[in-house]
């Protein structure tokens, strides 16, 4: 709750900016997550009251969509594609390598807070499988070695 107090002004500003937009709930949630990294569970009451929805309705939307998160992400978010095209090029091997290297499972964040790992179902980079993203950067034909290089380059930042 304490940390939400620091975020609250930002959330209220985003709510105000989207006041007159039709179908504004997803744009609001994106706005909050883009700015703050996640949607704090305490933000739900403010969103609900601004949009004249019940808290249950807002909570329902936040939890329906895989992309929205309610806990702070690591410094970098890695998304590894699990879909068929990547599987045909051994994405399962990449997945296992990533989990082992980072020491975490999907939906977890490393203890040092550097990396979060998420599954994703298709990045549209199927011509160069297996694919993954680090934040907004897309990478194709990702071997275990390439994964290690990418992680190292982020670690050095």
């Amino acid at each position: 709750m304490q940390d939400y107090q620091k975020q609250r002004a930002t959330v209220l500003q985003i709510l105000e900016d989207h006041q007159s937009m039709p179908g504004n709930l997803l744009p609001i949630l994106h706005g909050i997550q883009d700015t703050l990294g996640y949607i704090h569970p305490s933000a739900i009451a403010d969103i609900a009251s601004a949009l004249q929805l019940s808290k249950a309705e807002v909570h329902g939307v936040v939890t329906f969509y895989h992309y929205f998160r309610q806990t702070p992400p690591g410094q970098h978010t890695i998304r590894i594609c699990r879909a068929e095209s990547c599987q045909s090029m051994n994405s399962k091997g990449l997945e296992a390598h990533a989990k082992q290297t980072l020491g975490i499972d999907f939906h977890e964040t490393t203890a040092d807070g550097r990396f979060s790992l998420e599954p994703v179902y298709c990045l549209g980079n199927c011509a160069c499988s297996p694919a993954m993203t680090i934040d907004d950067e897309v990478h194709g034909r990702v071997s275990s070695e390439k994964f290690d290089q990418l992680i190292a380059s982020k670690g050095a930042e």
Binding site: N24, L25, V61, H66, C81, S88, Y121, N125, S129
Partner: protein, 514 residues
């Protein structure tokens, strides 16, 4: 000043195109050579990306695939004059992979600067809209109907009929919604259009607005496509600035507004009614039909929901006429299909061809066989809800009806290739698992059937009452097919049953027991 073209397409970027750009900029500057780098879309020959094209007196010549470490060597060899080098490819449009295509929808992708409206206009852009502005609404719809265009998202519903329904639905407000939630594995044609020629989509949506009397459009774009969002927003801004969007379009008195909205990682939102719920700010639960979205759509108003490629095919139809487009293709599949060749394939890419080309031609003549060099065992056509097709079916022409006749789907034209190391029982299990993950949960066959499906496949593979569970799996698939509310649960049985029927050995079953 020499002009170079290096793609801003996501796949090119994923292979390091940005680093190649930086290398050219710094090294050309160090040599005192003036260059301008145009960030074009991709030509779609992805094994050659990052591709560098150079404008010379003899036309554009290409080099690829270029690594940043090749740049100094290329400059020394005379790349800026189009001279020879081991990576020299000549005119990319002369390669069979490109030359043998019928590029109608993708005519400009890779050729032009995607966000430069003057470049778009110089390459036949907005000719369709200018024609449409001279026509009555019903005549625009007629052109689309005459073209034989069917929904390229996968369902293949005749676009003209959908438009006509919206045209004839009386309402003060109507909407055009573009379904850009391209979630199927093995598909990327929507992304390539949005990144490589966003104006063609904007023009198509504007024409749709004129055709049915809609003044507001939304592009529902999946969050996994950040580069497409940037390109679309740049193009929309340019279109507004030049009077191609907004009030009084090209002094016609007509209005059309357009906005990009982001999805949030839910596959089901590619289903049109779920997409509309999401646009309204709700959970992406599938709606009952009827009423059709054409009658009761976004915010309860008559709405056209069309796929990116359907809408991006409209400008050329209005430019050259419905008959021009209809003259391509076979049977009831008219025009062209941007085929996406992906997975374990040597020459992956985008291949736009008239319907009728066979899978074998795609896989071997153009695709060059598997990337691993091993035999191609199965291909999944039409995304995660499409059937696995085996070697004996590779001579089937790409045609909606021919695929339906063999219990398969053409869908959005994505082809994912698997070599003989893929275990098809694993792929069948994955299809059910994906349905568990992505089901909206509204109907029971999909929500619970998919979980039971994973369990039953596990039992078959682990030799637990094998015969009985095989019968049960087929029965479950029947329930999902006929009892699900939408294609998510209704079509998950396609990959499952095709894997079981064509590759029973992977389930530990003999042919007669499967």
């Amino acid at each position: 000043m020499t002009r170079l073209f290096i793609s801003r397409d996501s796949t090119a970027l994923s292979l390091g195109a940005e680093h190649v750009v930086t290398a050219f900029q710094t090294q050309a500057a160090a040599l005192g050579q003036e260059i301008e780098i145009v960030r074009n879309g991709s030509r779609g020959l992805f094994w050659l990306e990052p591709l560098v094209e150079v404008e010379t007196a003899e036309g554009r010549v290409a080099y690829g695939p270029v690594n940043p470490s090749d740049v100094s060597d290329l400059l020394a060899a005379g790349l800026l004059e189009g001279k020879q080098h081991p990576l020299f490819l000549g005119n990319i449009e002369e390669l069979a992979y490109f030359k043998d295509q019928n590029r109608l929808t993708f005519a400009r992708v890779g050729l032009t600067d995607p966000v430069d409206i003057d470049d778009y206009l110089a390459h036949d852009g907005y000719r369709g809209l200018h024609n449409a502005l001279k026509l009555q609404a019903a005549d625009i719809v007629k052109q689309v109907t005459d073209s034989g265009l069917r929904g390229r998202g996968g369902a293949a519903f005749p676009t003209g009929i959908k438009w006509n329904t919206v045209l004839n639905a009386p309402a003060e407000q109507k909407y055009i919604v573009c379904n850009a939630d391209e979630g199927d594995s093995g598909t990327f044609s929507d992304r390539m259009i949005m990144e490589g020629d966003p104006f063609v989509l904007i023009e198509g949506m504007t024409i749709a607005g004129l055709a049915v009397g809609a003044t507001q459009g939304y592009i529902y774009l999946r969050i996994e496509y950040p580069h497409a969002k940037i390109a679309l927003n740049q193009a929309i801004e340019a279109a507004y600035a030049r009077g191609y969007l907004g009030e009084n379009i090209q002094n016609s008195g007509k209005t059309f507004h357009l906005e990009v909205r982001s999805g949030a990682g839910a596959y089901i939102c590619g289903e049109e009614t779920s997409l509309l719920e999401s646009l309204e700010g709700k959970r992406g639960l599938v709606r009952f039909k009827p009423p059709l979205p054409a009658i009761v759509g976004l915010f309860g108003k008559p709405t056209i929901v069309n796929n990116v490629i359907s809408l991006a095919s409209v400008p050329i139809i209005l430019d050259k006429g419905g008959e021009y487009y209809r003259d391509y293709g076979m049977g009831r599949s008219r025009g062209t299909l941007p085929i996406q060749i992906a997975g374990n394939i040597k020459h992956p890419g985008l291949f736009e061809a008239a319907f009728g080309i066979t899978l074998r031609e795609i896989l071997y003549t153009y695709g060059g066989g598997s990337a691993s060099g091993r035999p191609i065992r199965a291909v999944q056509v039409g995304g995660p809800l499409g059937a696995y097709v085996h070697e004996g079916q590779f001579d089937t022409p790409l045609d909606y009806e021919a695929f339906a006749a063999m219990q398969a789907v053409l869908g959005h034209g994505g082809i994912v290739v698997h070599d003989d190391t893929s275990n098809m029982a694993d792929m069948a299990r994955y299809a059910m698992e994906f349905c568990v993950e992505e089901s909206c949960g509204k109907c029971t066959p999909c929500r619970i059937g998919s979980t039971r499906g994973v369990e039953v496949i596990d039992k078959i593979v682990n030799n637990i009452e094998k015969d009985k569970n095989t019968v049960l799996l087929r029965d479950l698939c029947n329930t999902m097919t006929f009892g699900s509310l939408c294609a998510m649960g209704g079509m998950t049985p396609f990959p499952v049953l095709s894997a079981l029927n064509h590759f029973p050995e992977d389930f530990g079953l003999s042919k007669d027991k499967a």
